[in-house]
Symmetry: C2
Subunit: 392 residues, 2 copies
């Protein structure tokens, strides 16, 4: 087992800098022991939980994800469970996307929007029963937002964080691993569908989902005491497929156009500004918190919007984001926007990223410059709207 659990022995990566101070406040996931045994080089904190962010050089992990299969501790995607007579009502209050039509057994991406039209979070919602949802969260305390609304409006719901921790299996061989682990039915599971299952007594919800475009599953562990056992079973089933410990890949998700809450989406941004209007029904939905703000916005011309940009210069790893963007040459004046994420794409051989830009900069002729953290001014080019495919 040790050989499989250890990260790519061929690629030691020198690292330094500060370590994470230890306290109870930064929670450990049910998979913590196995993660630490695998030796993460980079970690972060996500929903008050330690989240590993890489065991080897980012590019090496990226290629492995594209070609094989990885096991990811993403327990930091905490769940908020909303249950009770008013559960559908509360979930629909929080998002401009219709949720009453979400079937039991279905996942639905649901941008949560506040009364000013700003993004609170962008979870995947799982409907477990007519009157029970999980919101599988990005990094903000939606528990408090949901509880505040429910209390203020006197809704008949129970809102809590259950003992549920996602473990992702991602990559083109994820289907093989799941079939070996749980059976052939996993092959038939549709995208964004889930089923409850038990694996050697471990209670799970198995969803065809995950934060990559390489295919895969998320195993929602429903008993925090069984983290090591679940991890070991997945690793064992993945052994013939070269499974390795991995994490969400910043490179892969930028290439794939997956947005990250807190980086590309914030409380200061509306769904339209982030290209999420396809997940909203501004007019057709009644009675949601953001309605007035989003209807008002819909009556105006867009002012700014996320774009895809290609950035010159040497390969970058997205340090010290966001980076200011100006136009009209390297000395062209005040910043007009921000690069919110940027990575060097090994497949494209150039730096790509997302930038929040005013609409008149949404043209390949915009003559953009990015203020890099090391002081350099890098040429940048608009290649398309955030909702476009590809990188020009």
């Amino acid at each position: 087992m040790a050989a499989i659990l250890a990260p790519f022995a061929s690629a030691p990566v020198p690292h330094g800098g500060p370590t994470i101070a230890s306290s109870r406040r930064v929670r450990r996931s049910p998979f913590h022991d196995r993660v630490m045994a695998a030796g993460p080089l980079r970690v972060t904190v996500y929903n008050h939980m330690l989240l590993p962010m890489g065991y080897v050089a980012p590019e090496e992990a990226y290629w492995h994800l594209l070609e094989h299969v990885q096991i990811w501790d993403v327990a930091g995607e905490r769940q908020v469970e909303i249950e009770g007579r008013d559960a559908v009502r509360l979930v629909e209050l929080m998002t401009p996307r219709p949720m009453a039509s979400c079937a039991v057994g279905q996942c639905r991406y649901a941008p949560l929007v506040d009364e000013r039209g700003g993004l609170v979070n962008d979870p995947v919602a799982l409907r477990l029963a007519e009157d029970r949802f999980w919101l599988s969260l990005a990094d903000s305390d939606v528990l408090l937002w949901a509880k505040g609304l429910a209390h203020g409006l006197g809704l008949d719901v129970r809102v809590r964080e259950p003992d549920v921790s996602p473990l992702a299996v991602q990559g083109p061989k994820a289907g093989d691993v799941l079939e070996a682990l749980l059976g052939a039915w996993t092959r038939e599971l549709g995208f964004f569908r889930f089923r409850e299952a038990t694996l050697e007594g471990i209670p799970l919800v198995v969803a065809r989902s995950g934060w990559s475009k390489q295919g895969g599953f998320e195993l929602y562990l429903r008993d925090g005491a069984r983290g090591n056992a679940l991890w070991d079973l997945v690793v064992e089933a993945g052994r013939p497929h070269d499974i390795r410990p991995g994490t969400p890949s910043a490179i892969e998700r930028v290439e794939s156009g997956l947005l990250s809450y807190g980086s590309d989406l914030t409380l200061e941004d509306s769904p339209r500004q982030c290209g999420l209007e396809g997940f909203t029904k501004i007019d057709k939905r009644a009675d949601y918190v953001a309605r007035e703000a989003l209807v008002r916005e819909a009556g105006t011309a867009p002012d700014r919007r996320l774009a895809r940009v290609v950035i010159g210069g040497a390969p970058t790893e997205g340090a010290l984001l966001p980076w200011p963007v100006s136009r009209g040459g390297p000395f062209g004046g005040e910043p007009i926007g921000l690069v919110t994420s940027a990575e060097h794409s090994p497949r494209l051989g150039r730096n790509i990223g997302f930038a929040m830009l005013p609409m008149d900069a949404h043209t390949p002729d915009a003559d953009l410059f990015v203020h890099a953290p090391d002081g350099r001014m890098l040429e940048a080019r608009f290649v398309g709207d955030i909702t476009a495919d590809g990188w020009g």
Copy 2:
């Protein structure tokens, strides 16, 4: 300047382990450049912001704090501003402590409690005007809680996170530094009182407060672009007093009985269970969110409560907390409670900490054992209620 900005050159501390992954999501404080120049060994994430947690060995920083003065980047203590006709009403809804009686210019510690009686956060509230408060927060998204309540109840308030970042000056010589920096009036500022001030054009709120018991001030920077300038002015004023970059000291705060939200206080704990009943008026306050839950609790005997404990064994640095506690000998059975914080006290020469324990274990005869992260069972002794002074 470099000599002062650099941490204690005499005490290099070997460190290793994972570093923090960089993205826009983990925000940098206005003091980030100066903090990084000083070379933190340990960091954490607090309210979605990088928070330094030590530049030198913890014990060396502790002694310096007790004898001299330190400059702390505590910008991670983000503010929620509540302003408008219903500002007092919303603040009083969130806490069982009276807030209408808080004077303009006064700080008041205000445990925030949810509808189930659980602690949401424990900020210091600053009343800036009759209709305007800041909540200077521990680590949870109170912005979303306050906005949810305000929206649900239709209150006439504006709730937002303003551009305000605390910089703490802590230690017995903090008064000398503040006098040199801002003038003699700072000597007259009462404890938990604040005044607005300007320093070389930098807008500040200056409060006599801070997360140590060594005396000091918090400078609330009101323009995030002036972080470097403020830091440099404080360091310059502190030069005659051996000011050094520091951080909240886990050792000092445990010795001093200061509780940390997320570690010693959580959403699962009530104010009474955490010894905070002195900051509540359960019956006398009408119309607060937690009223029904706290009145109900007040009618019952306490079940568990934070205690002060002394723990045997070698000096500890509080790794992998919380630690389970059992009673009745090292093989005495299932855990009955948790050590929530623990540190080695250099002045006492022993390990001290806080533990959430059932009431019948609140006795020096309880025969407690702590399950240390390395597998050892350490003897522990109850030395007093959390509200007691000293360590027995």
